[in-house]
C-alpha cells in the first residue's frame, strides 16, 4: 500500500538541538489488565446463555488478575487490575471505533446448528470446563508435576479442536499442543528450537494479509524513520530481523519522491537464513533501482546479539536508523545485553521499536497467563473477520500464532537456552540513556489509514499515550510502536 500525498515532517524533531530537553514523559511499562466493563462476562454464572465465546479475552483478564494474586514474587510485571482507561485512550472518538455487537459474525456462520438456549449454555459450559482444565494443567506444568500435567493434556487434546467455530476452543487446542511439547522437552531434559523458516515466512505473509498488525508496525515505524531522516543525504537502515523486507518498499517510495531527490540508502538486514536474506536483498535492490534510488544491501545471517559491532561499521555523515519488530516466532536477537551494546555503539538517530504487549520472559505462569490473554484477543480478532473454516485463517493460526505460543511456553520462553532476555525493551532503552521520541500526529494518521482498510465495525482500536502508539483489539493492547534516539555525546 502506497502512502498518498505528502507528509509533513513533524516539526518537533527539527527544532530539537543538542542539549535541549525533550518534552516527553518517561513511559510507564506496567501492563494493565482491566476490563472497562467490570460487570461483564465472568461475574455471571455459567448458565447465562448470553455469554459469548468472544468474551474469552475478558475472561482471561479476570483470570489473569486471580493468578497474579495467587503467585507472589513475580517480578517485573505489576498487574494493575484497576488502571483507568482514560490514561491511554485518545480523546477524539474518531480513533475509537464503536463497539460492535458481539457474536454477529460467529452466529451467522454457525449455519444449521440449533440455537436453543440450552445448547448455548452447554457449549459455554464445555468451554468453561476446557479453560479450567487448561489452567489447572498450566499450574501442574509450572510446578513440574509432569505426570499430572500429562494426564490433563491427554484429556484436553480430545476436547478441543482448532477448527471449531469457538475461538476459545481454538486457543485451548493450541495452548494444549504447546504445553504437550513443553512437557516432552522437560522429560527429554533439553530444549532447542528447530525453525522452519520457509513456512514461517509464508504464514507471516498470510497474517499480513488478513490482519492490520504488521502493517501498523511497518507504517508507523516508517513514518518515524522518515521524520528522523529528514533532509539526510546518506542513510543507513538496519533491520534487526528483516525477513522478506515487506516493510521497506513503502519507505523507499517516499524517499525516492523527496523534493531534492532520494538519499543514498545503505541497508543492513539481519536474519536467520542467508538464502532468504540474499533473496530479500535482491528484491529490495531491484525495487530501489526502479525508483532510481542509490542502494546497497548487506545481509548478516546472525542474531543481533551475536553480531560483532565491526560487522556493522558506521560511515561518516550517515544517519542511522535501526528498526525492530518483536515477535515470538524464534529468537531474533539472542543475548539482549549484547544487542543493547550494539545499539549503544551504533548511536542511531532513530530506533523504531514495535513490541508485543506480552511477557516474553519471566516465570512460566506469568508467560502463560499473559499469552493466553494476548492470543485469545488475536484469535477473537481473526474470528470476527473470517469464517471458522477459512483456510488462510487456519494457516495463520497454525503456522504463525501457534508457533509463537509454543515458543512462549517452551522452557525458558522464546530464547529456549537460558540467555538473559529483557522483560521490556522500552524500559531498557530508557534505562540505557536513549531518549524517547513521541510518535507524531503523522504516525497516528498512518495508523488510522491502516485501520481504514479494515471495516470500522470490527474491533481494532488505536491507543495513544506516553509517546507511543498502540494497536489493539477492543480493550486489549497488542502491539506498541515507539521511537527512540541516542543522546548526543558532546
Amino acid at each position: 500500500m502506497m502512502m498518498k500525498g505528502d507528509f509533513e515532517v513533524h516539526r518537533a524533531l527539527d527544532l530539537v538541538q543538542p542539549g535541549e530537553n525533550w518534552d516527553c514523559t518517561p513511559a510507564e511499562f506496567s501492563v494493565s489488565h482491566h476490563t472497562s466493563n467490570p460487570s461483564s462476562a465472568m461475574a455471571r454464572p455459567v448458565l447465562d446463555g448470553h455469554r459469548t465465546n468472544t468474551d474469552l479475552s475478558e475472561f482471561m483478564e479476570q483470570v489473569a488478575s486471580h493468578f497474579s494474586e495467587a503467585s507472589p514474587g513475580t517480578d517485573g510485571f505489576p498487574m494493575d487490575t484497576a488502571l483507568p482507561t482514560e490514561k491511554f485512550t485518545t480523546s477524539p472518538d474518531e480513533y475509537r471505533p464503536r463497539k460492535s455487537p458481539r457474536r454477529v459474525y460467529e452466529s451467522s456462520v454457525r449455519g444449521g446448528e440449533s440455537r436453543s438456549s440450552k445448547s448455548l449454555a452447554e457449549r459455554d459450559e464445555h468451554g468453561l470446563n476446557m479453560i479450567t482444565l487448561l489452567l489447572e494443567c498450566a499450574v501442574a506444568v509450572s510446578v513440574e508435576n509432569l505426570a499430572q500435567a500429562n494426564r490433563m493434556l491427554l484429556e484436553l487434546t480430545q476436547m478441543a479442536s482448532p477448527y471449531s467455530p469457538s475461538c476459545a476452543e481454538r486457543v485451548v487446542a493450541y495452548f494444549t499442543k504447546a504445553m504437550a511439547s513443553r512437557v516432552m522437552n522437560s522429560w527429554l531434559g533439553f530444549c532447542s528450537p528447530l525453525v522452519p523458516h520457509k513456512s514461517i515466512l509464508s504464514a507471516f505473509q498470510a497474517f499480513n494479509n488478513i490482519s492490520p498488525f504488521i502493517k501498523f508496525s511497518h507504517f508507523t515505524a516508517n513514518q518515524a524513520i522518515l521524520e528522523a531522516l529528514h533532509q539526510k543525504e546518506r542513510v543507513h537502515i538496519i533491520d534487526l530481523d528483516i525477513m522478506q523486507g515487506l516493510q521497506w518498499p513503502a519507505l523507499f517510495h517516499i524517499l525516492a519522491s523527496r523534493a531534492n531527490g532520494p538519499p543514498h540508502v545503505r541497508m543492513t538486514g539481519l536474519g536467520a537464513s542467508m538464502a532468504v536474506l540474499e533473496e530479500t536483498g535482491r528484491q529490495l535492490s531491484n525495487f530501489a533501482r526502479r525508483l532510481g534510488m542509490s542502494f546497497e544491501f548487506h545481509p548478516i545471517a546472525k542474531r543481533a546479539g551475536d553480531v560483532d559491532p565491526s560487522m556493522v561499521p558506521s560511515q561518516r555523515g550517515e544517519a542511522v536508523a535501526v528498526h525492530w519488530l518483536q515477535h515470538a516466532l524464534y529468537d531474533a536477537t539472542g543475548p539482549d545485553n549484547n544487542t543493547m551494546r550494539l545499539l549503544e555503539l551504533l548511536a542511531p538517530r532513530v530506533i523504531t521499536l514495535v513490541e508485543q504487549e506480552m511477557a516474553h520472559a519471566g516465570s512460566f505462569l506469568d508467560r502463560f497467563v499473559e499469552s493466553l490473554h494476548y492470543y485469545s484477543t488475536i484469535f477473537d480478532s481473526l474470528g470476527m473477520s473470517l469464517p471458522f473454516d477459512d483456510a488462510s485463517r487456519h494457516r495463520v493460526e497454525h503456522g504463525l500464532l501457534s508457533r509463537e505460543i509454543n515458543n512462549i511456553l517452551a522452557i525458558g520462553g522464546p530464547a529456549r537456552n537460558g540467555e538473559e532476555k529483557f522483560v521490556s525493551w522500552r524500559m531498557e532503552l530508557a534505562r540505557r540513556g536513549f531518549m524517547q521520541v513521541p510518535m507524531s500526529g503523522n504516525s497516528m494518521a498512518q495508523a488510522q489509514l491502516i485501520l481504514n482498510m479494515f471495516p470500522p465495525s470490527l474491533g481494532y482500536t488505536i491507543f495513544q499515550g506516553d509517546g507511543t502508539l498502540r494497536l489493539g483489539w477492543k480493550d486489549t493492547r497488542l502491539y506498541t510502536a515507539s521511537a527512540w534516539t541516542s543522546r548526543p555525546t558532546q
Binding site: 499442543k177 528447530l194 522452519p196
Partner: protein
C-alpha cells in the same frame, strides 16, 4: 525398558547436534518429502535397540516438527511420536485408557453420526464393504421369510437402510427382519445404541418392513461372545455381518471365534477388514511399526485428500486412529479395550477356510460396487482377489486398503 530421563543419563549430549549459531544454513529436516516416516522409523529402531541417546535425539526432533493440525507428515509425526514416547516410557496402557475414557465422555449419537456420515459422503472406505456385503446377504437369503442378521460392525448401522429398502422393493412378499447388533466397549454408551435402534425402527416402519432390533452388549472383549447371548430362533435364516469386527478379537482367540460363528449356522457370513498386518509383536517391533506407519500413512493421506482442510470430522477420525496406533504400538494388549491388530485379507482367508467355504460375489454385486466407486473422487478402484484368496479389494491409488468377502457353511 524404560528410557531414563536425560537428567539421569551421565554425559547427556546437550546441543551436540543442534547448533544455535547461524553461520551455516540451518538444517531443515522437514524439507524432504517423507521426513516423518524416516525419523519415526529411525526412532522405532533406536527403541528396539535401546539406544538411549539416539532415542532422545529423535524424540526431540519429532517433538519440534510434529503437529496434529498440520499437513499429513506433521500429523503422522505427532500421533506416532505419542506412541513411541509411551513405548519408551512404558506408559502406553495408562495413556490409552485415559484417551478412551475421554473419547467416550464426549461421544454422543449426534457427533458419531455426523462423523461417519461425512466420511461416507467423501470416501467409499466404509460404503464399499456395505454394498458388497448387502449384495451377498440379499442373494443368500433370497426367498426366506424370516431373516436374522447378526451385525458385528463399527459403522453404527449405516449399512442397513439400503438393505431395508432393497427388502421393501423385492417383488415377492416382504420378509420379516430381525437385526441383532453386537456392541463392544468402544461403541459409545447405551444412549448411542438406543438412539440408533429408534431410528432403525422408524425407518423400517416407513419402508413397510416388519422389523425387530436388539442390542447385545459384550462386557469386555469380543471373543467372549456366546451363542446363547444371541437368542437364535429355529425358523430364521441367519446372516452374520462382520465389518471391522474380526480384528477386535484377541489374536489367540480368533480360531475359536470362527468356530463360534460356525455354530450359529448362518447361510452367509460377510467379512470386511482393512488391509494391514499388525500381528507381529514382541521381538518384531520394528516390523510392526513399519507396517503400522505404512497403513496409517495411506489412510491419513486419503483423509487429507477427501476432506476439507479444516474438517472437524476428519480430526475425529484422526484421533480415533491415534488411539488404535497407541494400542498397537505401545500396549501389550491384555485387557485394554478392543484389540486393534488387523490382519490382511489373505490371513483372514486362511482362518475362515477352517470353518467356511468361500463364496464369490456375483456379477451384479460387483457391478453395484463399481457404480458406487464412480460416485466418489478419482483414485478409488476395485481389485478382485487373485490367486489363493477370494473376495474383493478396494484400492486407493492402486494400493489395496479394504478387503470384502463372503462365506457359506
Amino acid at each position: 525398558m524404560i528410557v531414563k530421563k536425560a537428567s539421569e543419563i551421565p554425559n547427556q549430549h546437550h546441543h551436540h547436534h543442534m547448533s544455535t549459531s547461524r553461520q551455516s544454513e540451518p538444517d531443515d529436516p522437514s524439507a524432504s518429502e517423507k521426513w516423518a516416516a524416516n525419523l519415526l522409523q529411525d526412532c522405532a529402531k533406536a527403541i528396539s535397540e535401546k539406544d538411549s541417546s539416539k532415542i532422545h535425539h529423535l524424540l526431540w526432533m519429532l517433538n519440534e516438527l510434529a503437529s496434529p493440525y498440520g499437513d499429513c507428515e506433521q500429523k503422522l509425526a505427532s500421533y506416532f511420536l505419542q506412541a513411541l514416547f509411551c513405548k519408551a516410557t512404558e506408559s502406553g496402557e495408562r495413556c490409552y485408557k485415559t484417551l478412551v475414557s475421554v473419547a467416550e465422555k464426549s461421544h454422543s449419537f449426534e457427533s458419531a453420526r455426523k462423523v461417519i456420515l461425512k466420511f461416507q459422503e467423501v470416501s467409499p472406505w466404509t460404503t464399499f464393504g456395505h454394498v458388497a456385503s448387502n449384495g451377498a446377504i440379499l442373494e443368500a437369503l433370497e426367498g426366506e421369510a424370516k431373516l436374522h442378521i447378526i451385525d458385528i460392525s463399527n459403522t453404527y448401522c449405516t449399512q442397513w437402510p439400503t438393505l431395508l429398502e432393497a427388502l421393501a422393493t423385492r417383488s415377492d412378499e416382504t420378509p420379516h427382519l430381525r437385526l441383532t447388533v453386537v456392541a463392544t466397549v468402544g461403541m459409545g454408551g447405551g444412549s448411542v445404541m438406543k438412539e440408533i435402534g429408534q431410528r432403525m425402527e422408524k425407518f423400517a416402519r416407513l419402508m413397510g418392513v416388519p422389523f425387530e432390533f436388539h442390542v447385545v452388549r459384550v462386557a469386555s472383549q469380543l471373543g467372549e461372545l456366546k451363542e446363547e447371548d444371541l437368542g437364535l430362533r429355529e425358523d430364521e435364516a441367519v446372516a452374520v455381518n462382520c465389518v471391522g469386527a474380526l480384528r477386535r478379537v484377541a489374536v489367540e482367540e480368533r480360531g475359536d471365534f470362527m468356530r463360534l460363528l460356525c455354530s450359529l449356522r448362518p447361510r452367509v457370513v460377510t467379512v470386511v477388514e482393512e488391509e494391514a498386518d499388525f500381528t507381529s509383536t514382541g521381538s518384531e517391533y520394528v516390523r510392526c511399526f513399519e507396517e503400522c506407519l505404512r497403513f496409517y500413512g495411506v489412510f491419513f493421506e486419503m483423509l487429507e485428500e477427501s476432506f476439507a482442510p479444516t474438517s472437524n470430522e476428519r480430526l475425529s477420525l484422526e484421533r480415533e486412529c491415534s488411539r488404535s496406533i497407541l494400542s498397537v504400538l505401545a500396549c501389550d494388549g491384555d485387557g485394554v479395550g478392543d484389540c486393534e491388530r488387523r490382519e490382511k485379507g489373505s490371513q483372514w482367508f486362511a482362518r475362515l477356510m477352517q470353518a467356511f467355504s468361500p463364496m464369490n460375489f456375483s456379477d451384479d454385486v460387483v457391478d453395484d460396487v463399481r457404480a458406487l466407486l464412480k460416485r466418489y473422487r478419482s483414485g478409488w478402484s476395485l481389485l478382485p482377489a487373485q490367486g489363493d484368496d477370494s473376495g474383493l479389494y478396494l484400492t486407493w491409488k492402486d494400493e489395496p486398503v479394504v478387503w470384502a468377502s463372503a462365506w457359506k457353511p
